[in-house]
């Protein structure tokens, strides 16, 4: 399959996923609301001491992203499964990876958009300096989200087609996310604090390494997961 054809299929899948999302606004709004409320609840659970919240902020932010992002992954396959369109998609010749790539891109856009709204809310609730570290913060959020969405889209391809999917997806996904979580929180903490010890770059490089490893592993094995 030519590169051009492959890319056009990727974009077609991604676009379809995203536009279907836009029509059912409940999806996006629901996830954003869930994220905001989670941040609030964390505040009540760990506050009211502002110093404690500021220390915990990086971890709380990423946990919120993880918990709300998971909601999005299963639904990205739900639409096809309900309409029976998955079988039709699979009949197209030329490898299954464009399906994965398309859904990955759609989920990535979705979660990044959620973060655009959620991070400022966290900044307000936990009193975080967001303007100065903005470039570094954006980089960290992007890299962390890529890894998260890669693994999430991958495991959701299985979990969404099975009973008890809301429980199975976190059960399968979260242990795989531990290294990513540790690195993302470490990098975020460093970036927000102005990186006094210089650990930020090391964590960011680790994040990038994880992304490459996860992307490679998932793309190489996606055929086993989506095939009949």
């Amino acid at each position: 399959m030519t590169v051009r054809l492959a890319l056009s299929r990727v974009m077609a899948v991604a676009w379809k996923d995203l536009t279907t999302e836009r029509r059912s606004k409940a999806g996006f709004n629901g996830v954003v609301f869930m994220a905001a409320i989670t941040l609030l609840m964390f505040g009540f659970a760990l506050g009211p001491d502002p110093a404690a919240l500021r220390t915990a902020a990086a971890g709380l932010l990423w946990l919120t992203v993880l918990l709300s992002g998971v909601l999005a992954f299963n639904r990205s396959y739900e639409l096809e499964i309900e309409a029976g369109a998955l079988d039709a998609l699979l009949l197209y010749p030329g490898g299954r990876w464009p399906i994965f790539a398309g859904k990955l891109l759609a989920n990535l856009a979705f979660v990044l958009l959620v973060e655009v709204i959620t991070v400022p809310i966290a900044g307000v609730l936990y009193d975080l300096p967001l303007l100065t570290p903005l470039p570094g913060l954006t980089g960290v959020l992007f890299l962390g989200t890529v890894g998260f969405v890669t693994l999430g889209t991958y495991y959701a391809a299985m979990a969404s087609r099975v009973r008890a999917r809301e429980v199975l997806l976190p059960l399968l996904l979260f242990p795989m996310l531990v290294p990513l979580l540790v690195a993302a929180v470490g990098a975020t903490k460093a970036v927000l604090a102005g990186d006094p010890m210089g650990y930020g770059t090391a964590w960011i490089r680790l994040l990038a390494a994880f992304d490459i490893v996860f992307l490679a592993a998932t793309f190489m094995t996606f055929d086993y997961v989506i095939g009949e």
Partner: protein, 232 residues
């Protein structure tokens, strides 16, 4: 796989368990109380063998998964599944024993060190693997998905270990659990071997059970479809 009489299985199990008891007796009686730890170090005779064999069982899961994706023969998938069940029990036991050792030693039931956390993550991965297997009904899909999840999970464990290790060194100097006094080495080896026999017995028995269950399933399907039960 040749048919073994039911009684041989039980005899085998009893023999092996007797060996475990003997190894434990040797270990506990033959070694003097540790300088610092008193008799507490004797917990190592169960904790360490459990840990080693838990990881070994998980290696069998990885091996079975790879072999299945390569050969596409169902027996590899059944082997992986059997090994995962044993690995789950041994891993949980390892963590519990480590906790029991840790409480009087460090004063806490749990610490966030790389070994303990990786083992806990390993347990979650195995439980997730088993949950996936229990939810998927079609054998072919179950085998394919289990194999992939198993392989990715296995690759993740060392990554978790390294991440946590790095995460920890940033906060405090690495303090690993005390290494075992050489005086304990022989007792440890004996117990490890005894436990290995237990692990092998359990995996073989559960593998055999899984194969027989599949045979019964297939035979029942054939009958249900209305034909005679055909040899093969």
């Amino acid at each position: 796989m040749t048919h073994t009489k039911g009684s041989t299985t039980i005899v085998g199990a009893l023999l092996i368990l007797a060996l475990v008891a003997a190894a434990q007796a040797f270990g506990v009686l033959a070694s003097a109380p540790d300088r610092d730890m008193g008799h507490l170090q004797k917990i190592m005779y169960v904790h360490v063998p459990a840990a080693w064999n838990a990881f070994l069982a998980f290696v069998v899961v990885l091996f079975g998964s790879v072999m299945y994706l390569w050969k596409r023969e169902e027996k590899w998938d059944l082997l992986a599944g059997a090994a995962a069940e044993v690995a789950a029990v041994l891993t949980a036991l390892t963590i519990a024993l480590g906790s029991i050792w840790g409480r009087p030693t460090w004063g806490v039931w749990w610490t966030w060190d790389p070994r303990l956390t990786s083992t806990a993550i390993l347990l979650v991965i195995i439980v997730g693997y088993l949950a996936l297997r229990s939810f998927v009904d079609e054998p072919d899909r179950r085998a394919r998905w289990s194999a992939v999840v198993g392989i990715l999970g296995a690759l993740n464990v060392p990554i978790v270990y390294m991440s946590v290790r790095w995460w920890r060194t940033l906060h405090q100097p690495q303090s690993s659990p005390s290494t075992v006094d050489p005086a304990y080495a022989w007792g440890l080896r004996l117990n490890a071997i005894a436990f290995l026999l237990v692990m092998i017995w359990l995996v073989r028995a559960r593998y055999r059970a899984a194969r027989l269950e599949r045979i019964a399933e297939l035979a029942a399907e054939r009958e249900a479809l209305g034909g005679r039960v055909v040899n093969g």
